[in-house]
């Protein structure tokens, strides 16, 4: 079901590349110079980014020279690569009942979908039999608190609310405390959007993480970077800096229901070794699905 949804979300029409790229995936096809140009265009258009695209093309050239193009064609190389990265992580489950409570921090630049994803994720965990608690640590954005409160109603998850201008770290602290005493299985901390270049705001994030760990050693267990699939090359800067400052355990790729392919996530996976864990495919509460490497790789070239 979930896969269908992603397929549907990815199956948008795009004209230019259509059949020509598909030809590349015919088993046994040799790679000509013009095929590579075509593939380069396809990768750039899918927002894979200049650097990663160059690397991939180079990689394919070598594979072709050594006649190592797998039976599935060049696409299979990409797919294997993505799958390997996802599988490298022992437990890619976004929520693990073994941690009680499992504290998850949602971070990212402005407007990527953190608050919406917090609501969806609470529902996702509750559907799996967990009891989740939302923490409104965005005390800056107008009505962020009210927005999350509505998601709390929709998901049936409890919420620790905040007042405007409150210390976001102390909201997170209160939430973790409440989760421990109230027997919750997960805490989802919604944070304010911040550009990765803003040093002060990034420091604030560090503090939120630190304070969670103070209350509960090992917390936050996951820090997910919420990344908008329409993002271009800047996505790699975002991931790099968030990773550098607080460490990212996974990506949640939102808005993949748009025509964008989210290719920059591939660049991030390749360069920084951070896997995509979940994918947002709409604005409704159930529009959050687990990442599937095969459909993602295929989606990059689908029209």
């Amino acid at each position: 079901m979930a896969l269908d949804k992603l397929k549907k979300a990815l199956g948008k029409t795009r004209s230019i590349l259509n059949t020509r790229v598909e030809d590349l995936f015919v088993p046994g096809k040799t790679l000509e110079e013009e095929d590579l140009e075509l593939l380069e265009e396809a990768l750039i258009v899918a927002d894979v980014g200049v650097e990663a695209t160059e690397n991939i093309i180079e990689h394919l050239k070598v594979a072709a020279r050594e006649q190592k193009i797998p039976p599935g064609g060049p696409l299979a190389i990409l797919e294997t690569e993505i799958r390997k990265m996802v599988d490298e992580y022992e437990d890619p489950a976004p929520w693990r009942p073994t941690e009680k409570p499992h504290v998850i921090l949602l971070v990212g630049v402005n407007g990527t979908g953190k608050t919406t994803t917090a609501g969806k994720l609470a529902k996702y965990i509750n559907d799996k039999g967990g009891k989740s608690l939302l923490a409104a640590s965005d005390t800056f954005r107008a009505a962020a608190n009210e927005q999350l409160a509505i998601w709390s109603e929709r998901s049936g998850a409890d919420i620790v609310r905040s007042v405007d201008g409150a210390d976001p770290a102390s909201v997170a602290f209160d939430a973790v405390s409440k989760a421990i005493s109230g027997g919750y299985d997960a805490v989802i901390v919604d944070t304010a959007g911040r550009l990765h270049t803003k040093v002060n705001l990034m420091e604030e994030l560090k503090k939120i993480a630190r304070v969670c760990g103070k209350k509960l050693p090992g917390a936050p267990h996951d820090i997910f970077l919420v990344l908008d699939a329409t993002t271009g090359n800047n996505g790699i800067n975002q991931a790099r800096l968030f990773e550098e400052v607080i460490g990212i355990t996974g990506i949640i790729l939102t808005k993949l229901d748009s025509t964008a392919k989210g290719g920059i996530a591939l660049a991030i996976m390749r360069e920084l070794n951070i896997p995509v864990r979940l994918v947002g495919v709409g604005e409704k509460i159930d529009d959050l699905i687990e990442f599937d490497s095969a459909s993602f790789a295929a989606g990059l070239f689908e029209d």
Partner: protein
Amino acid sequence: MFEQLTEKIETVFRGLTSRGRLSEDNIKGALKEVRRALLSADVNFKVTKEFIARVQERAVGRDVLESITPGQQFIKIIHDELVDLLGGLAPNIELPHKTPTNIMLVGLQGSGKTTSAGKLARFFAKRQFKPILVACDIHRPAAARQLEIVANNAGYPSIMFEEGEKPSEVARRAQFEARQFGCDLAIHDTAGRLHIDRDMMAEARELYDEINPDLVLLVLDAMTGQEAVSVGEAFTSELGVDGFLLTKLDGDARGGAALSLRQVTGKPVLFVGVGEKLDALERFHPDRMAGRILGMGDVVTLVEKAEQTFDEKRAKELEKKLRKQTFDFNDFRDQLKQLKNMGPIDDILAMIPGMKKSMLKGIQVDDGATKRIEAIINSMTPSERAKPGSIDGSRRKRIARGSGTSVQEVNRLLKQFFEMQKMFKKMGRIKKFAMPPGFGL
């Protein structure tokens, strides 16, 4: 990035002496570097292709001037071409005065429409309009509440939607309610929507038909990748977009979408958003954007921003000092005094060309902490301020006592200061070749 591009282009042309001639052959390598720079800035693939072809045509056969290197001349051609394509001079924004005049904001989810509604109200309030904000987003949770808060903070009234009302109905009501508020500019905030979402596009069209807006702005995130083109095309053809507002340019996005949008729609970028606060809206400047897309950094904006708070002379002085690396604690204190008006220091620093975000690590001036920092600097002797290197352990203790702070705090400030000096030094080096003659400043 630009230092890289300049450097690369210089390398490419190394063999070519001045008084040579730019030929198809010798610009080939340079064009490849430019192409790479544009694609890294998220300029659309096709638009990049067209641009390269155009530049090639312009450049081939040109004599290299004696005064500059072929590399510099080549970059100048690229830069000028880019400015030209971005729209040359920044267009004027003339709105008619009606009762009311209508602005409609549209765009993808999370691009910054609601925030920009407040910023635009400010902008036009300074131009003899009396704005009112109209909440036509009936979909996103708490969207109306968000707009109401934005309006309140900015000091303007707002109109909320009522249970069961369609966006077009809210807007219709707003047409006369605006007058009751004594307002003549209704800014309509709409829900984020995908350009491929038929129903949502139809909803926006219905609103459009209801108010027949005087200005439709597509609000687009500057970090948008290759899709900017299809988004721009769809919104423009279906909702008669008049121009673009590019948000989140306060980060390190290179904003290639600006060029793509302009190229495929022919419509101008009118505004840029440079922060989350209400005053973080600026007019679009093609020359600055060109530099940014090429990765030159935004020196013009940096200087302007300084000028808004410093008087011109002091801004020039500061700039000179930054370049000559004679920046000391006296300057630092002066600057701190202005800091509150200028915005966070990291914002300012981020505009400097060649500035890498990693250089900013460990440098952090919290706006709330400026008082303590000022106290520390005030406790230094004039010679200490001019020669921070002379501040040893015992001096640090004295300064801490004098300022009522701790030695750790003094240490931290000194560390940050030296870090900053180091950075300015690096910047100074980069500057030398980052700015060929004839470039803005």
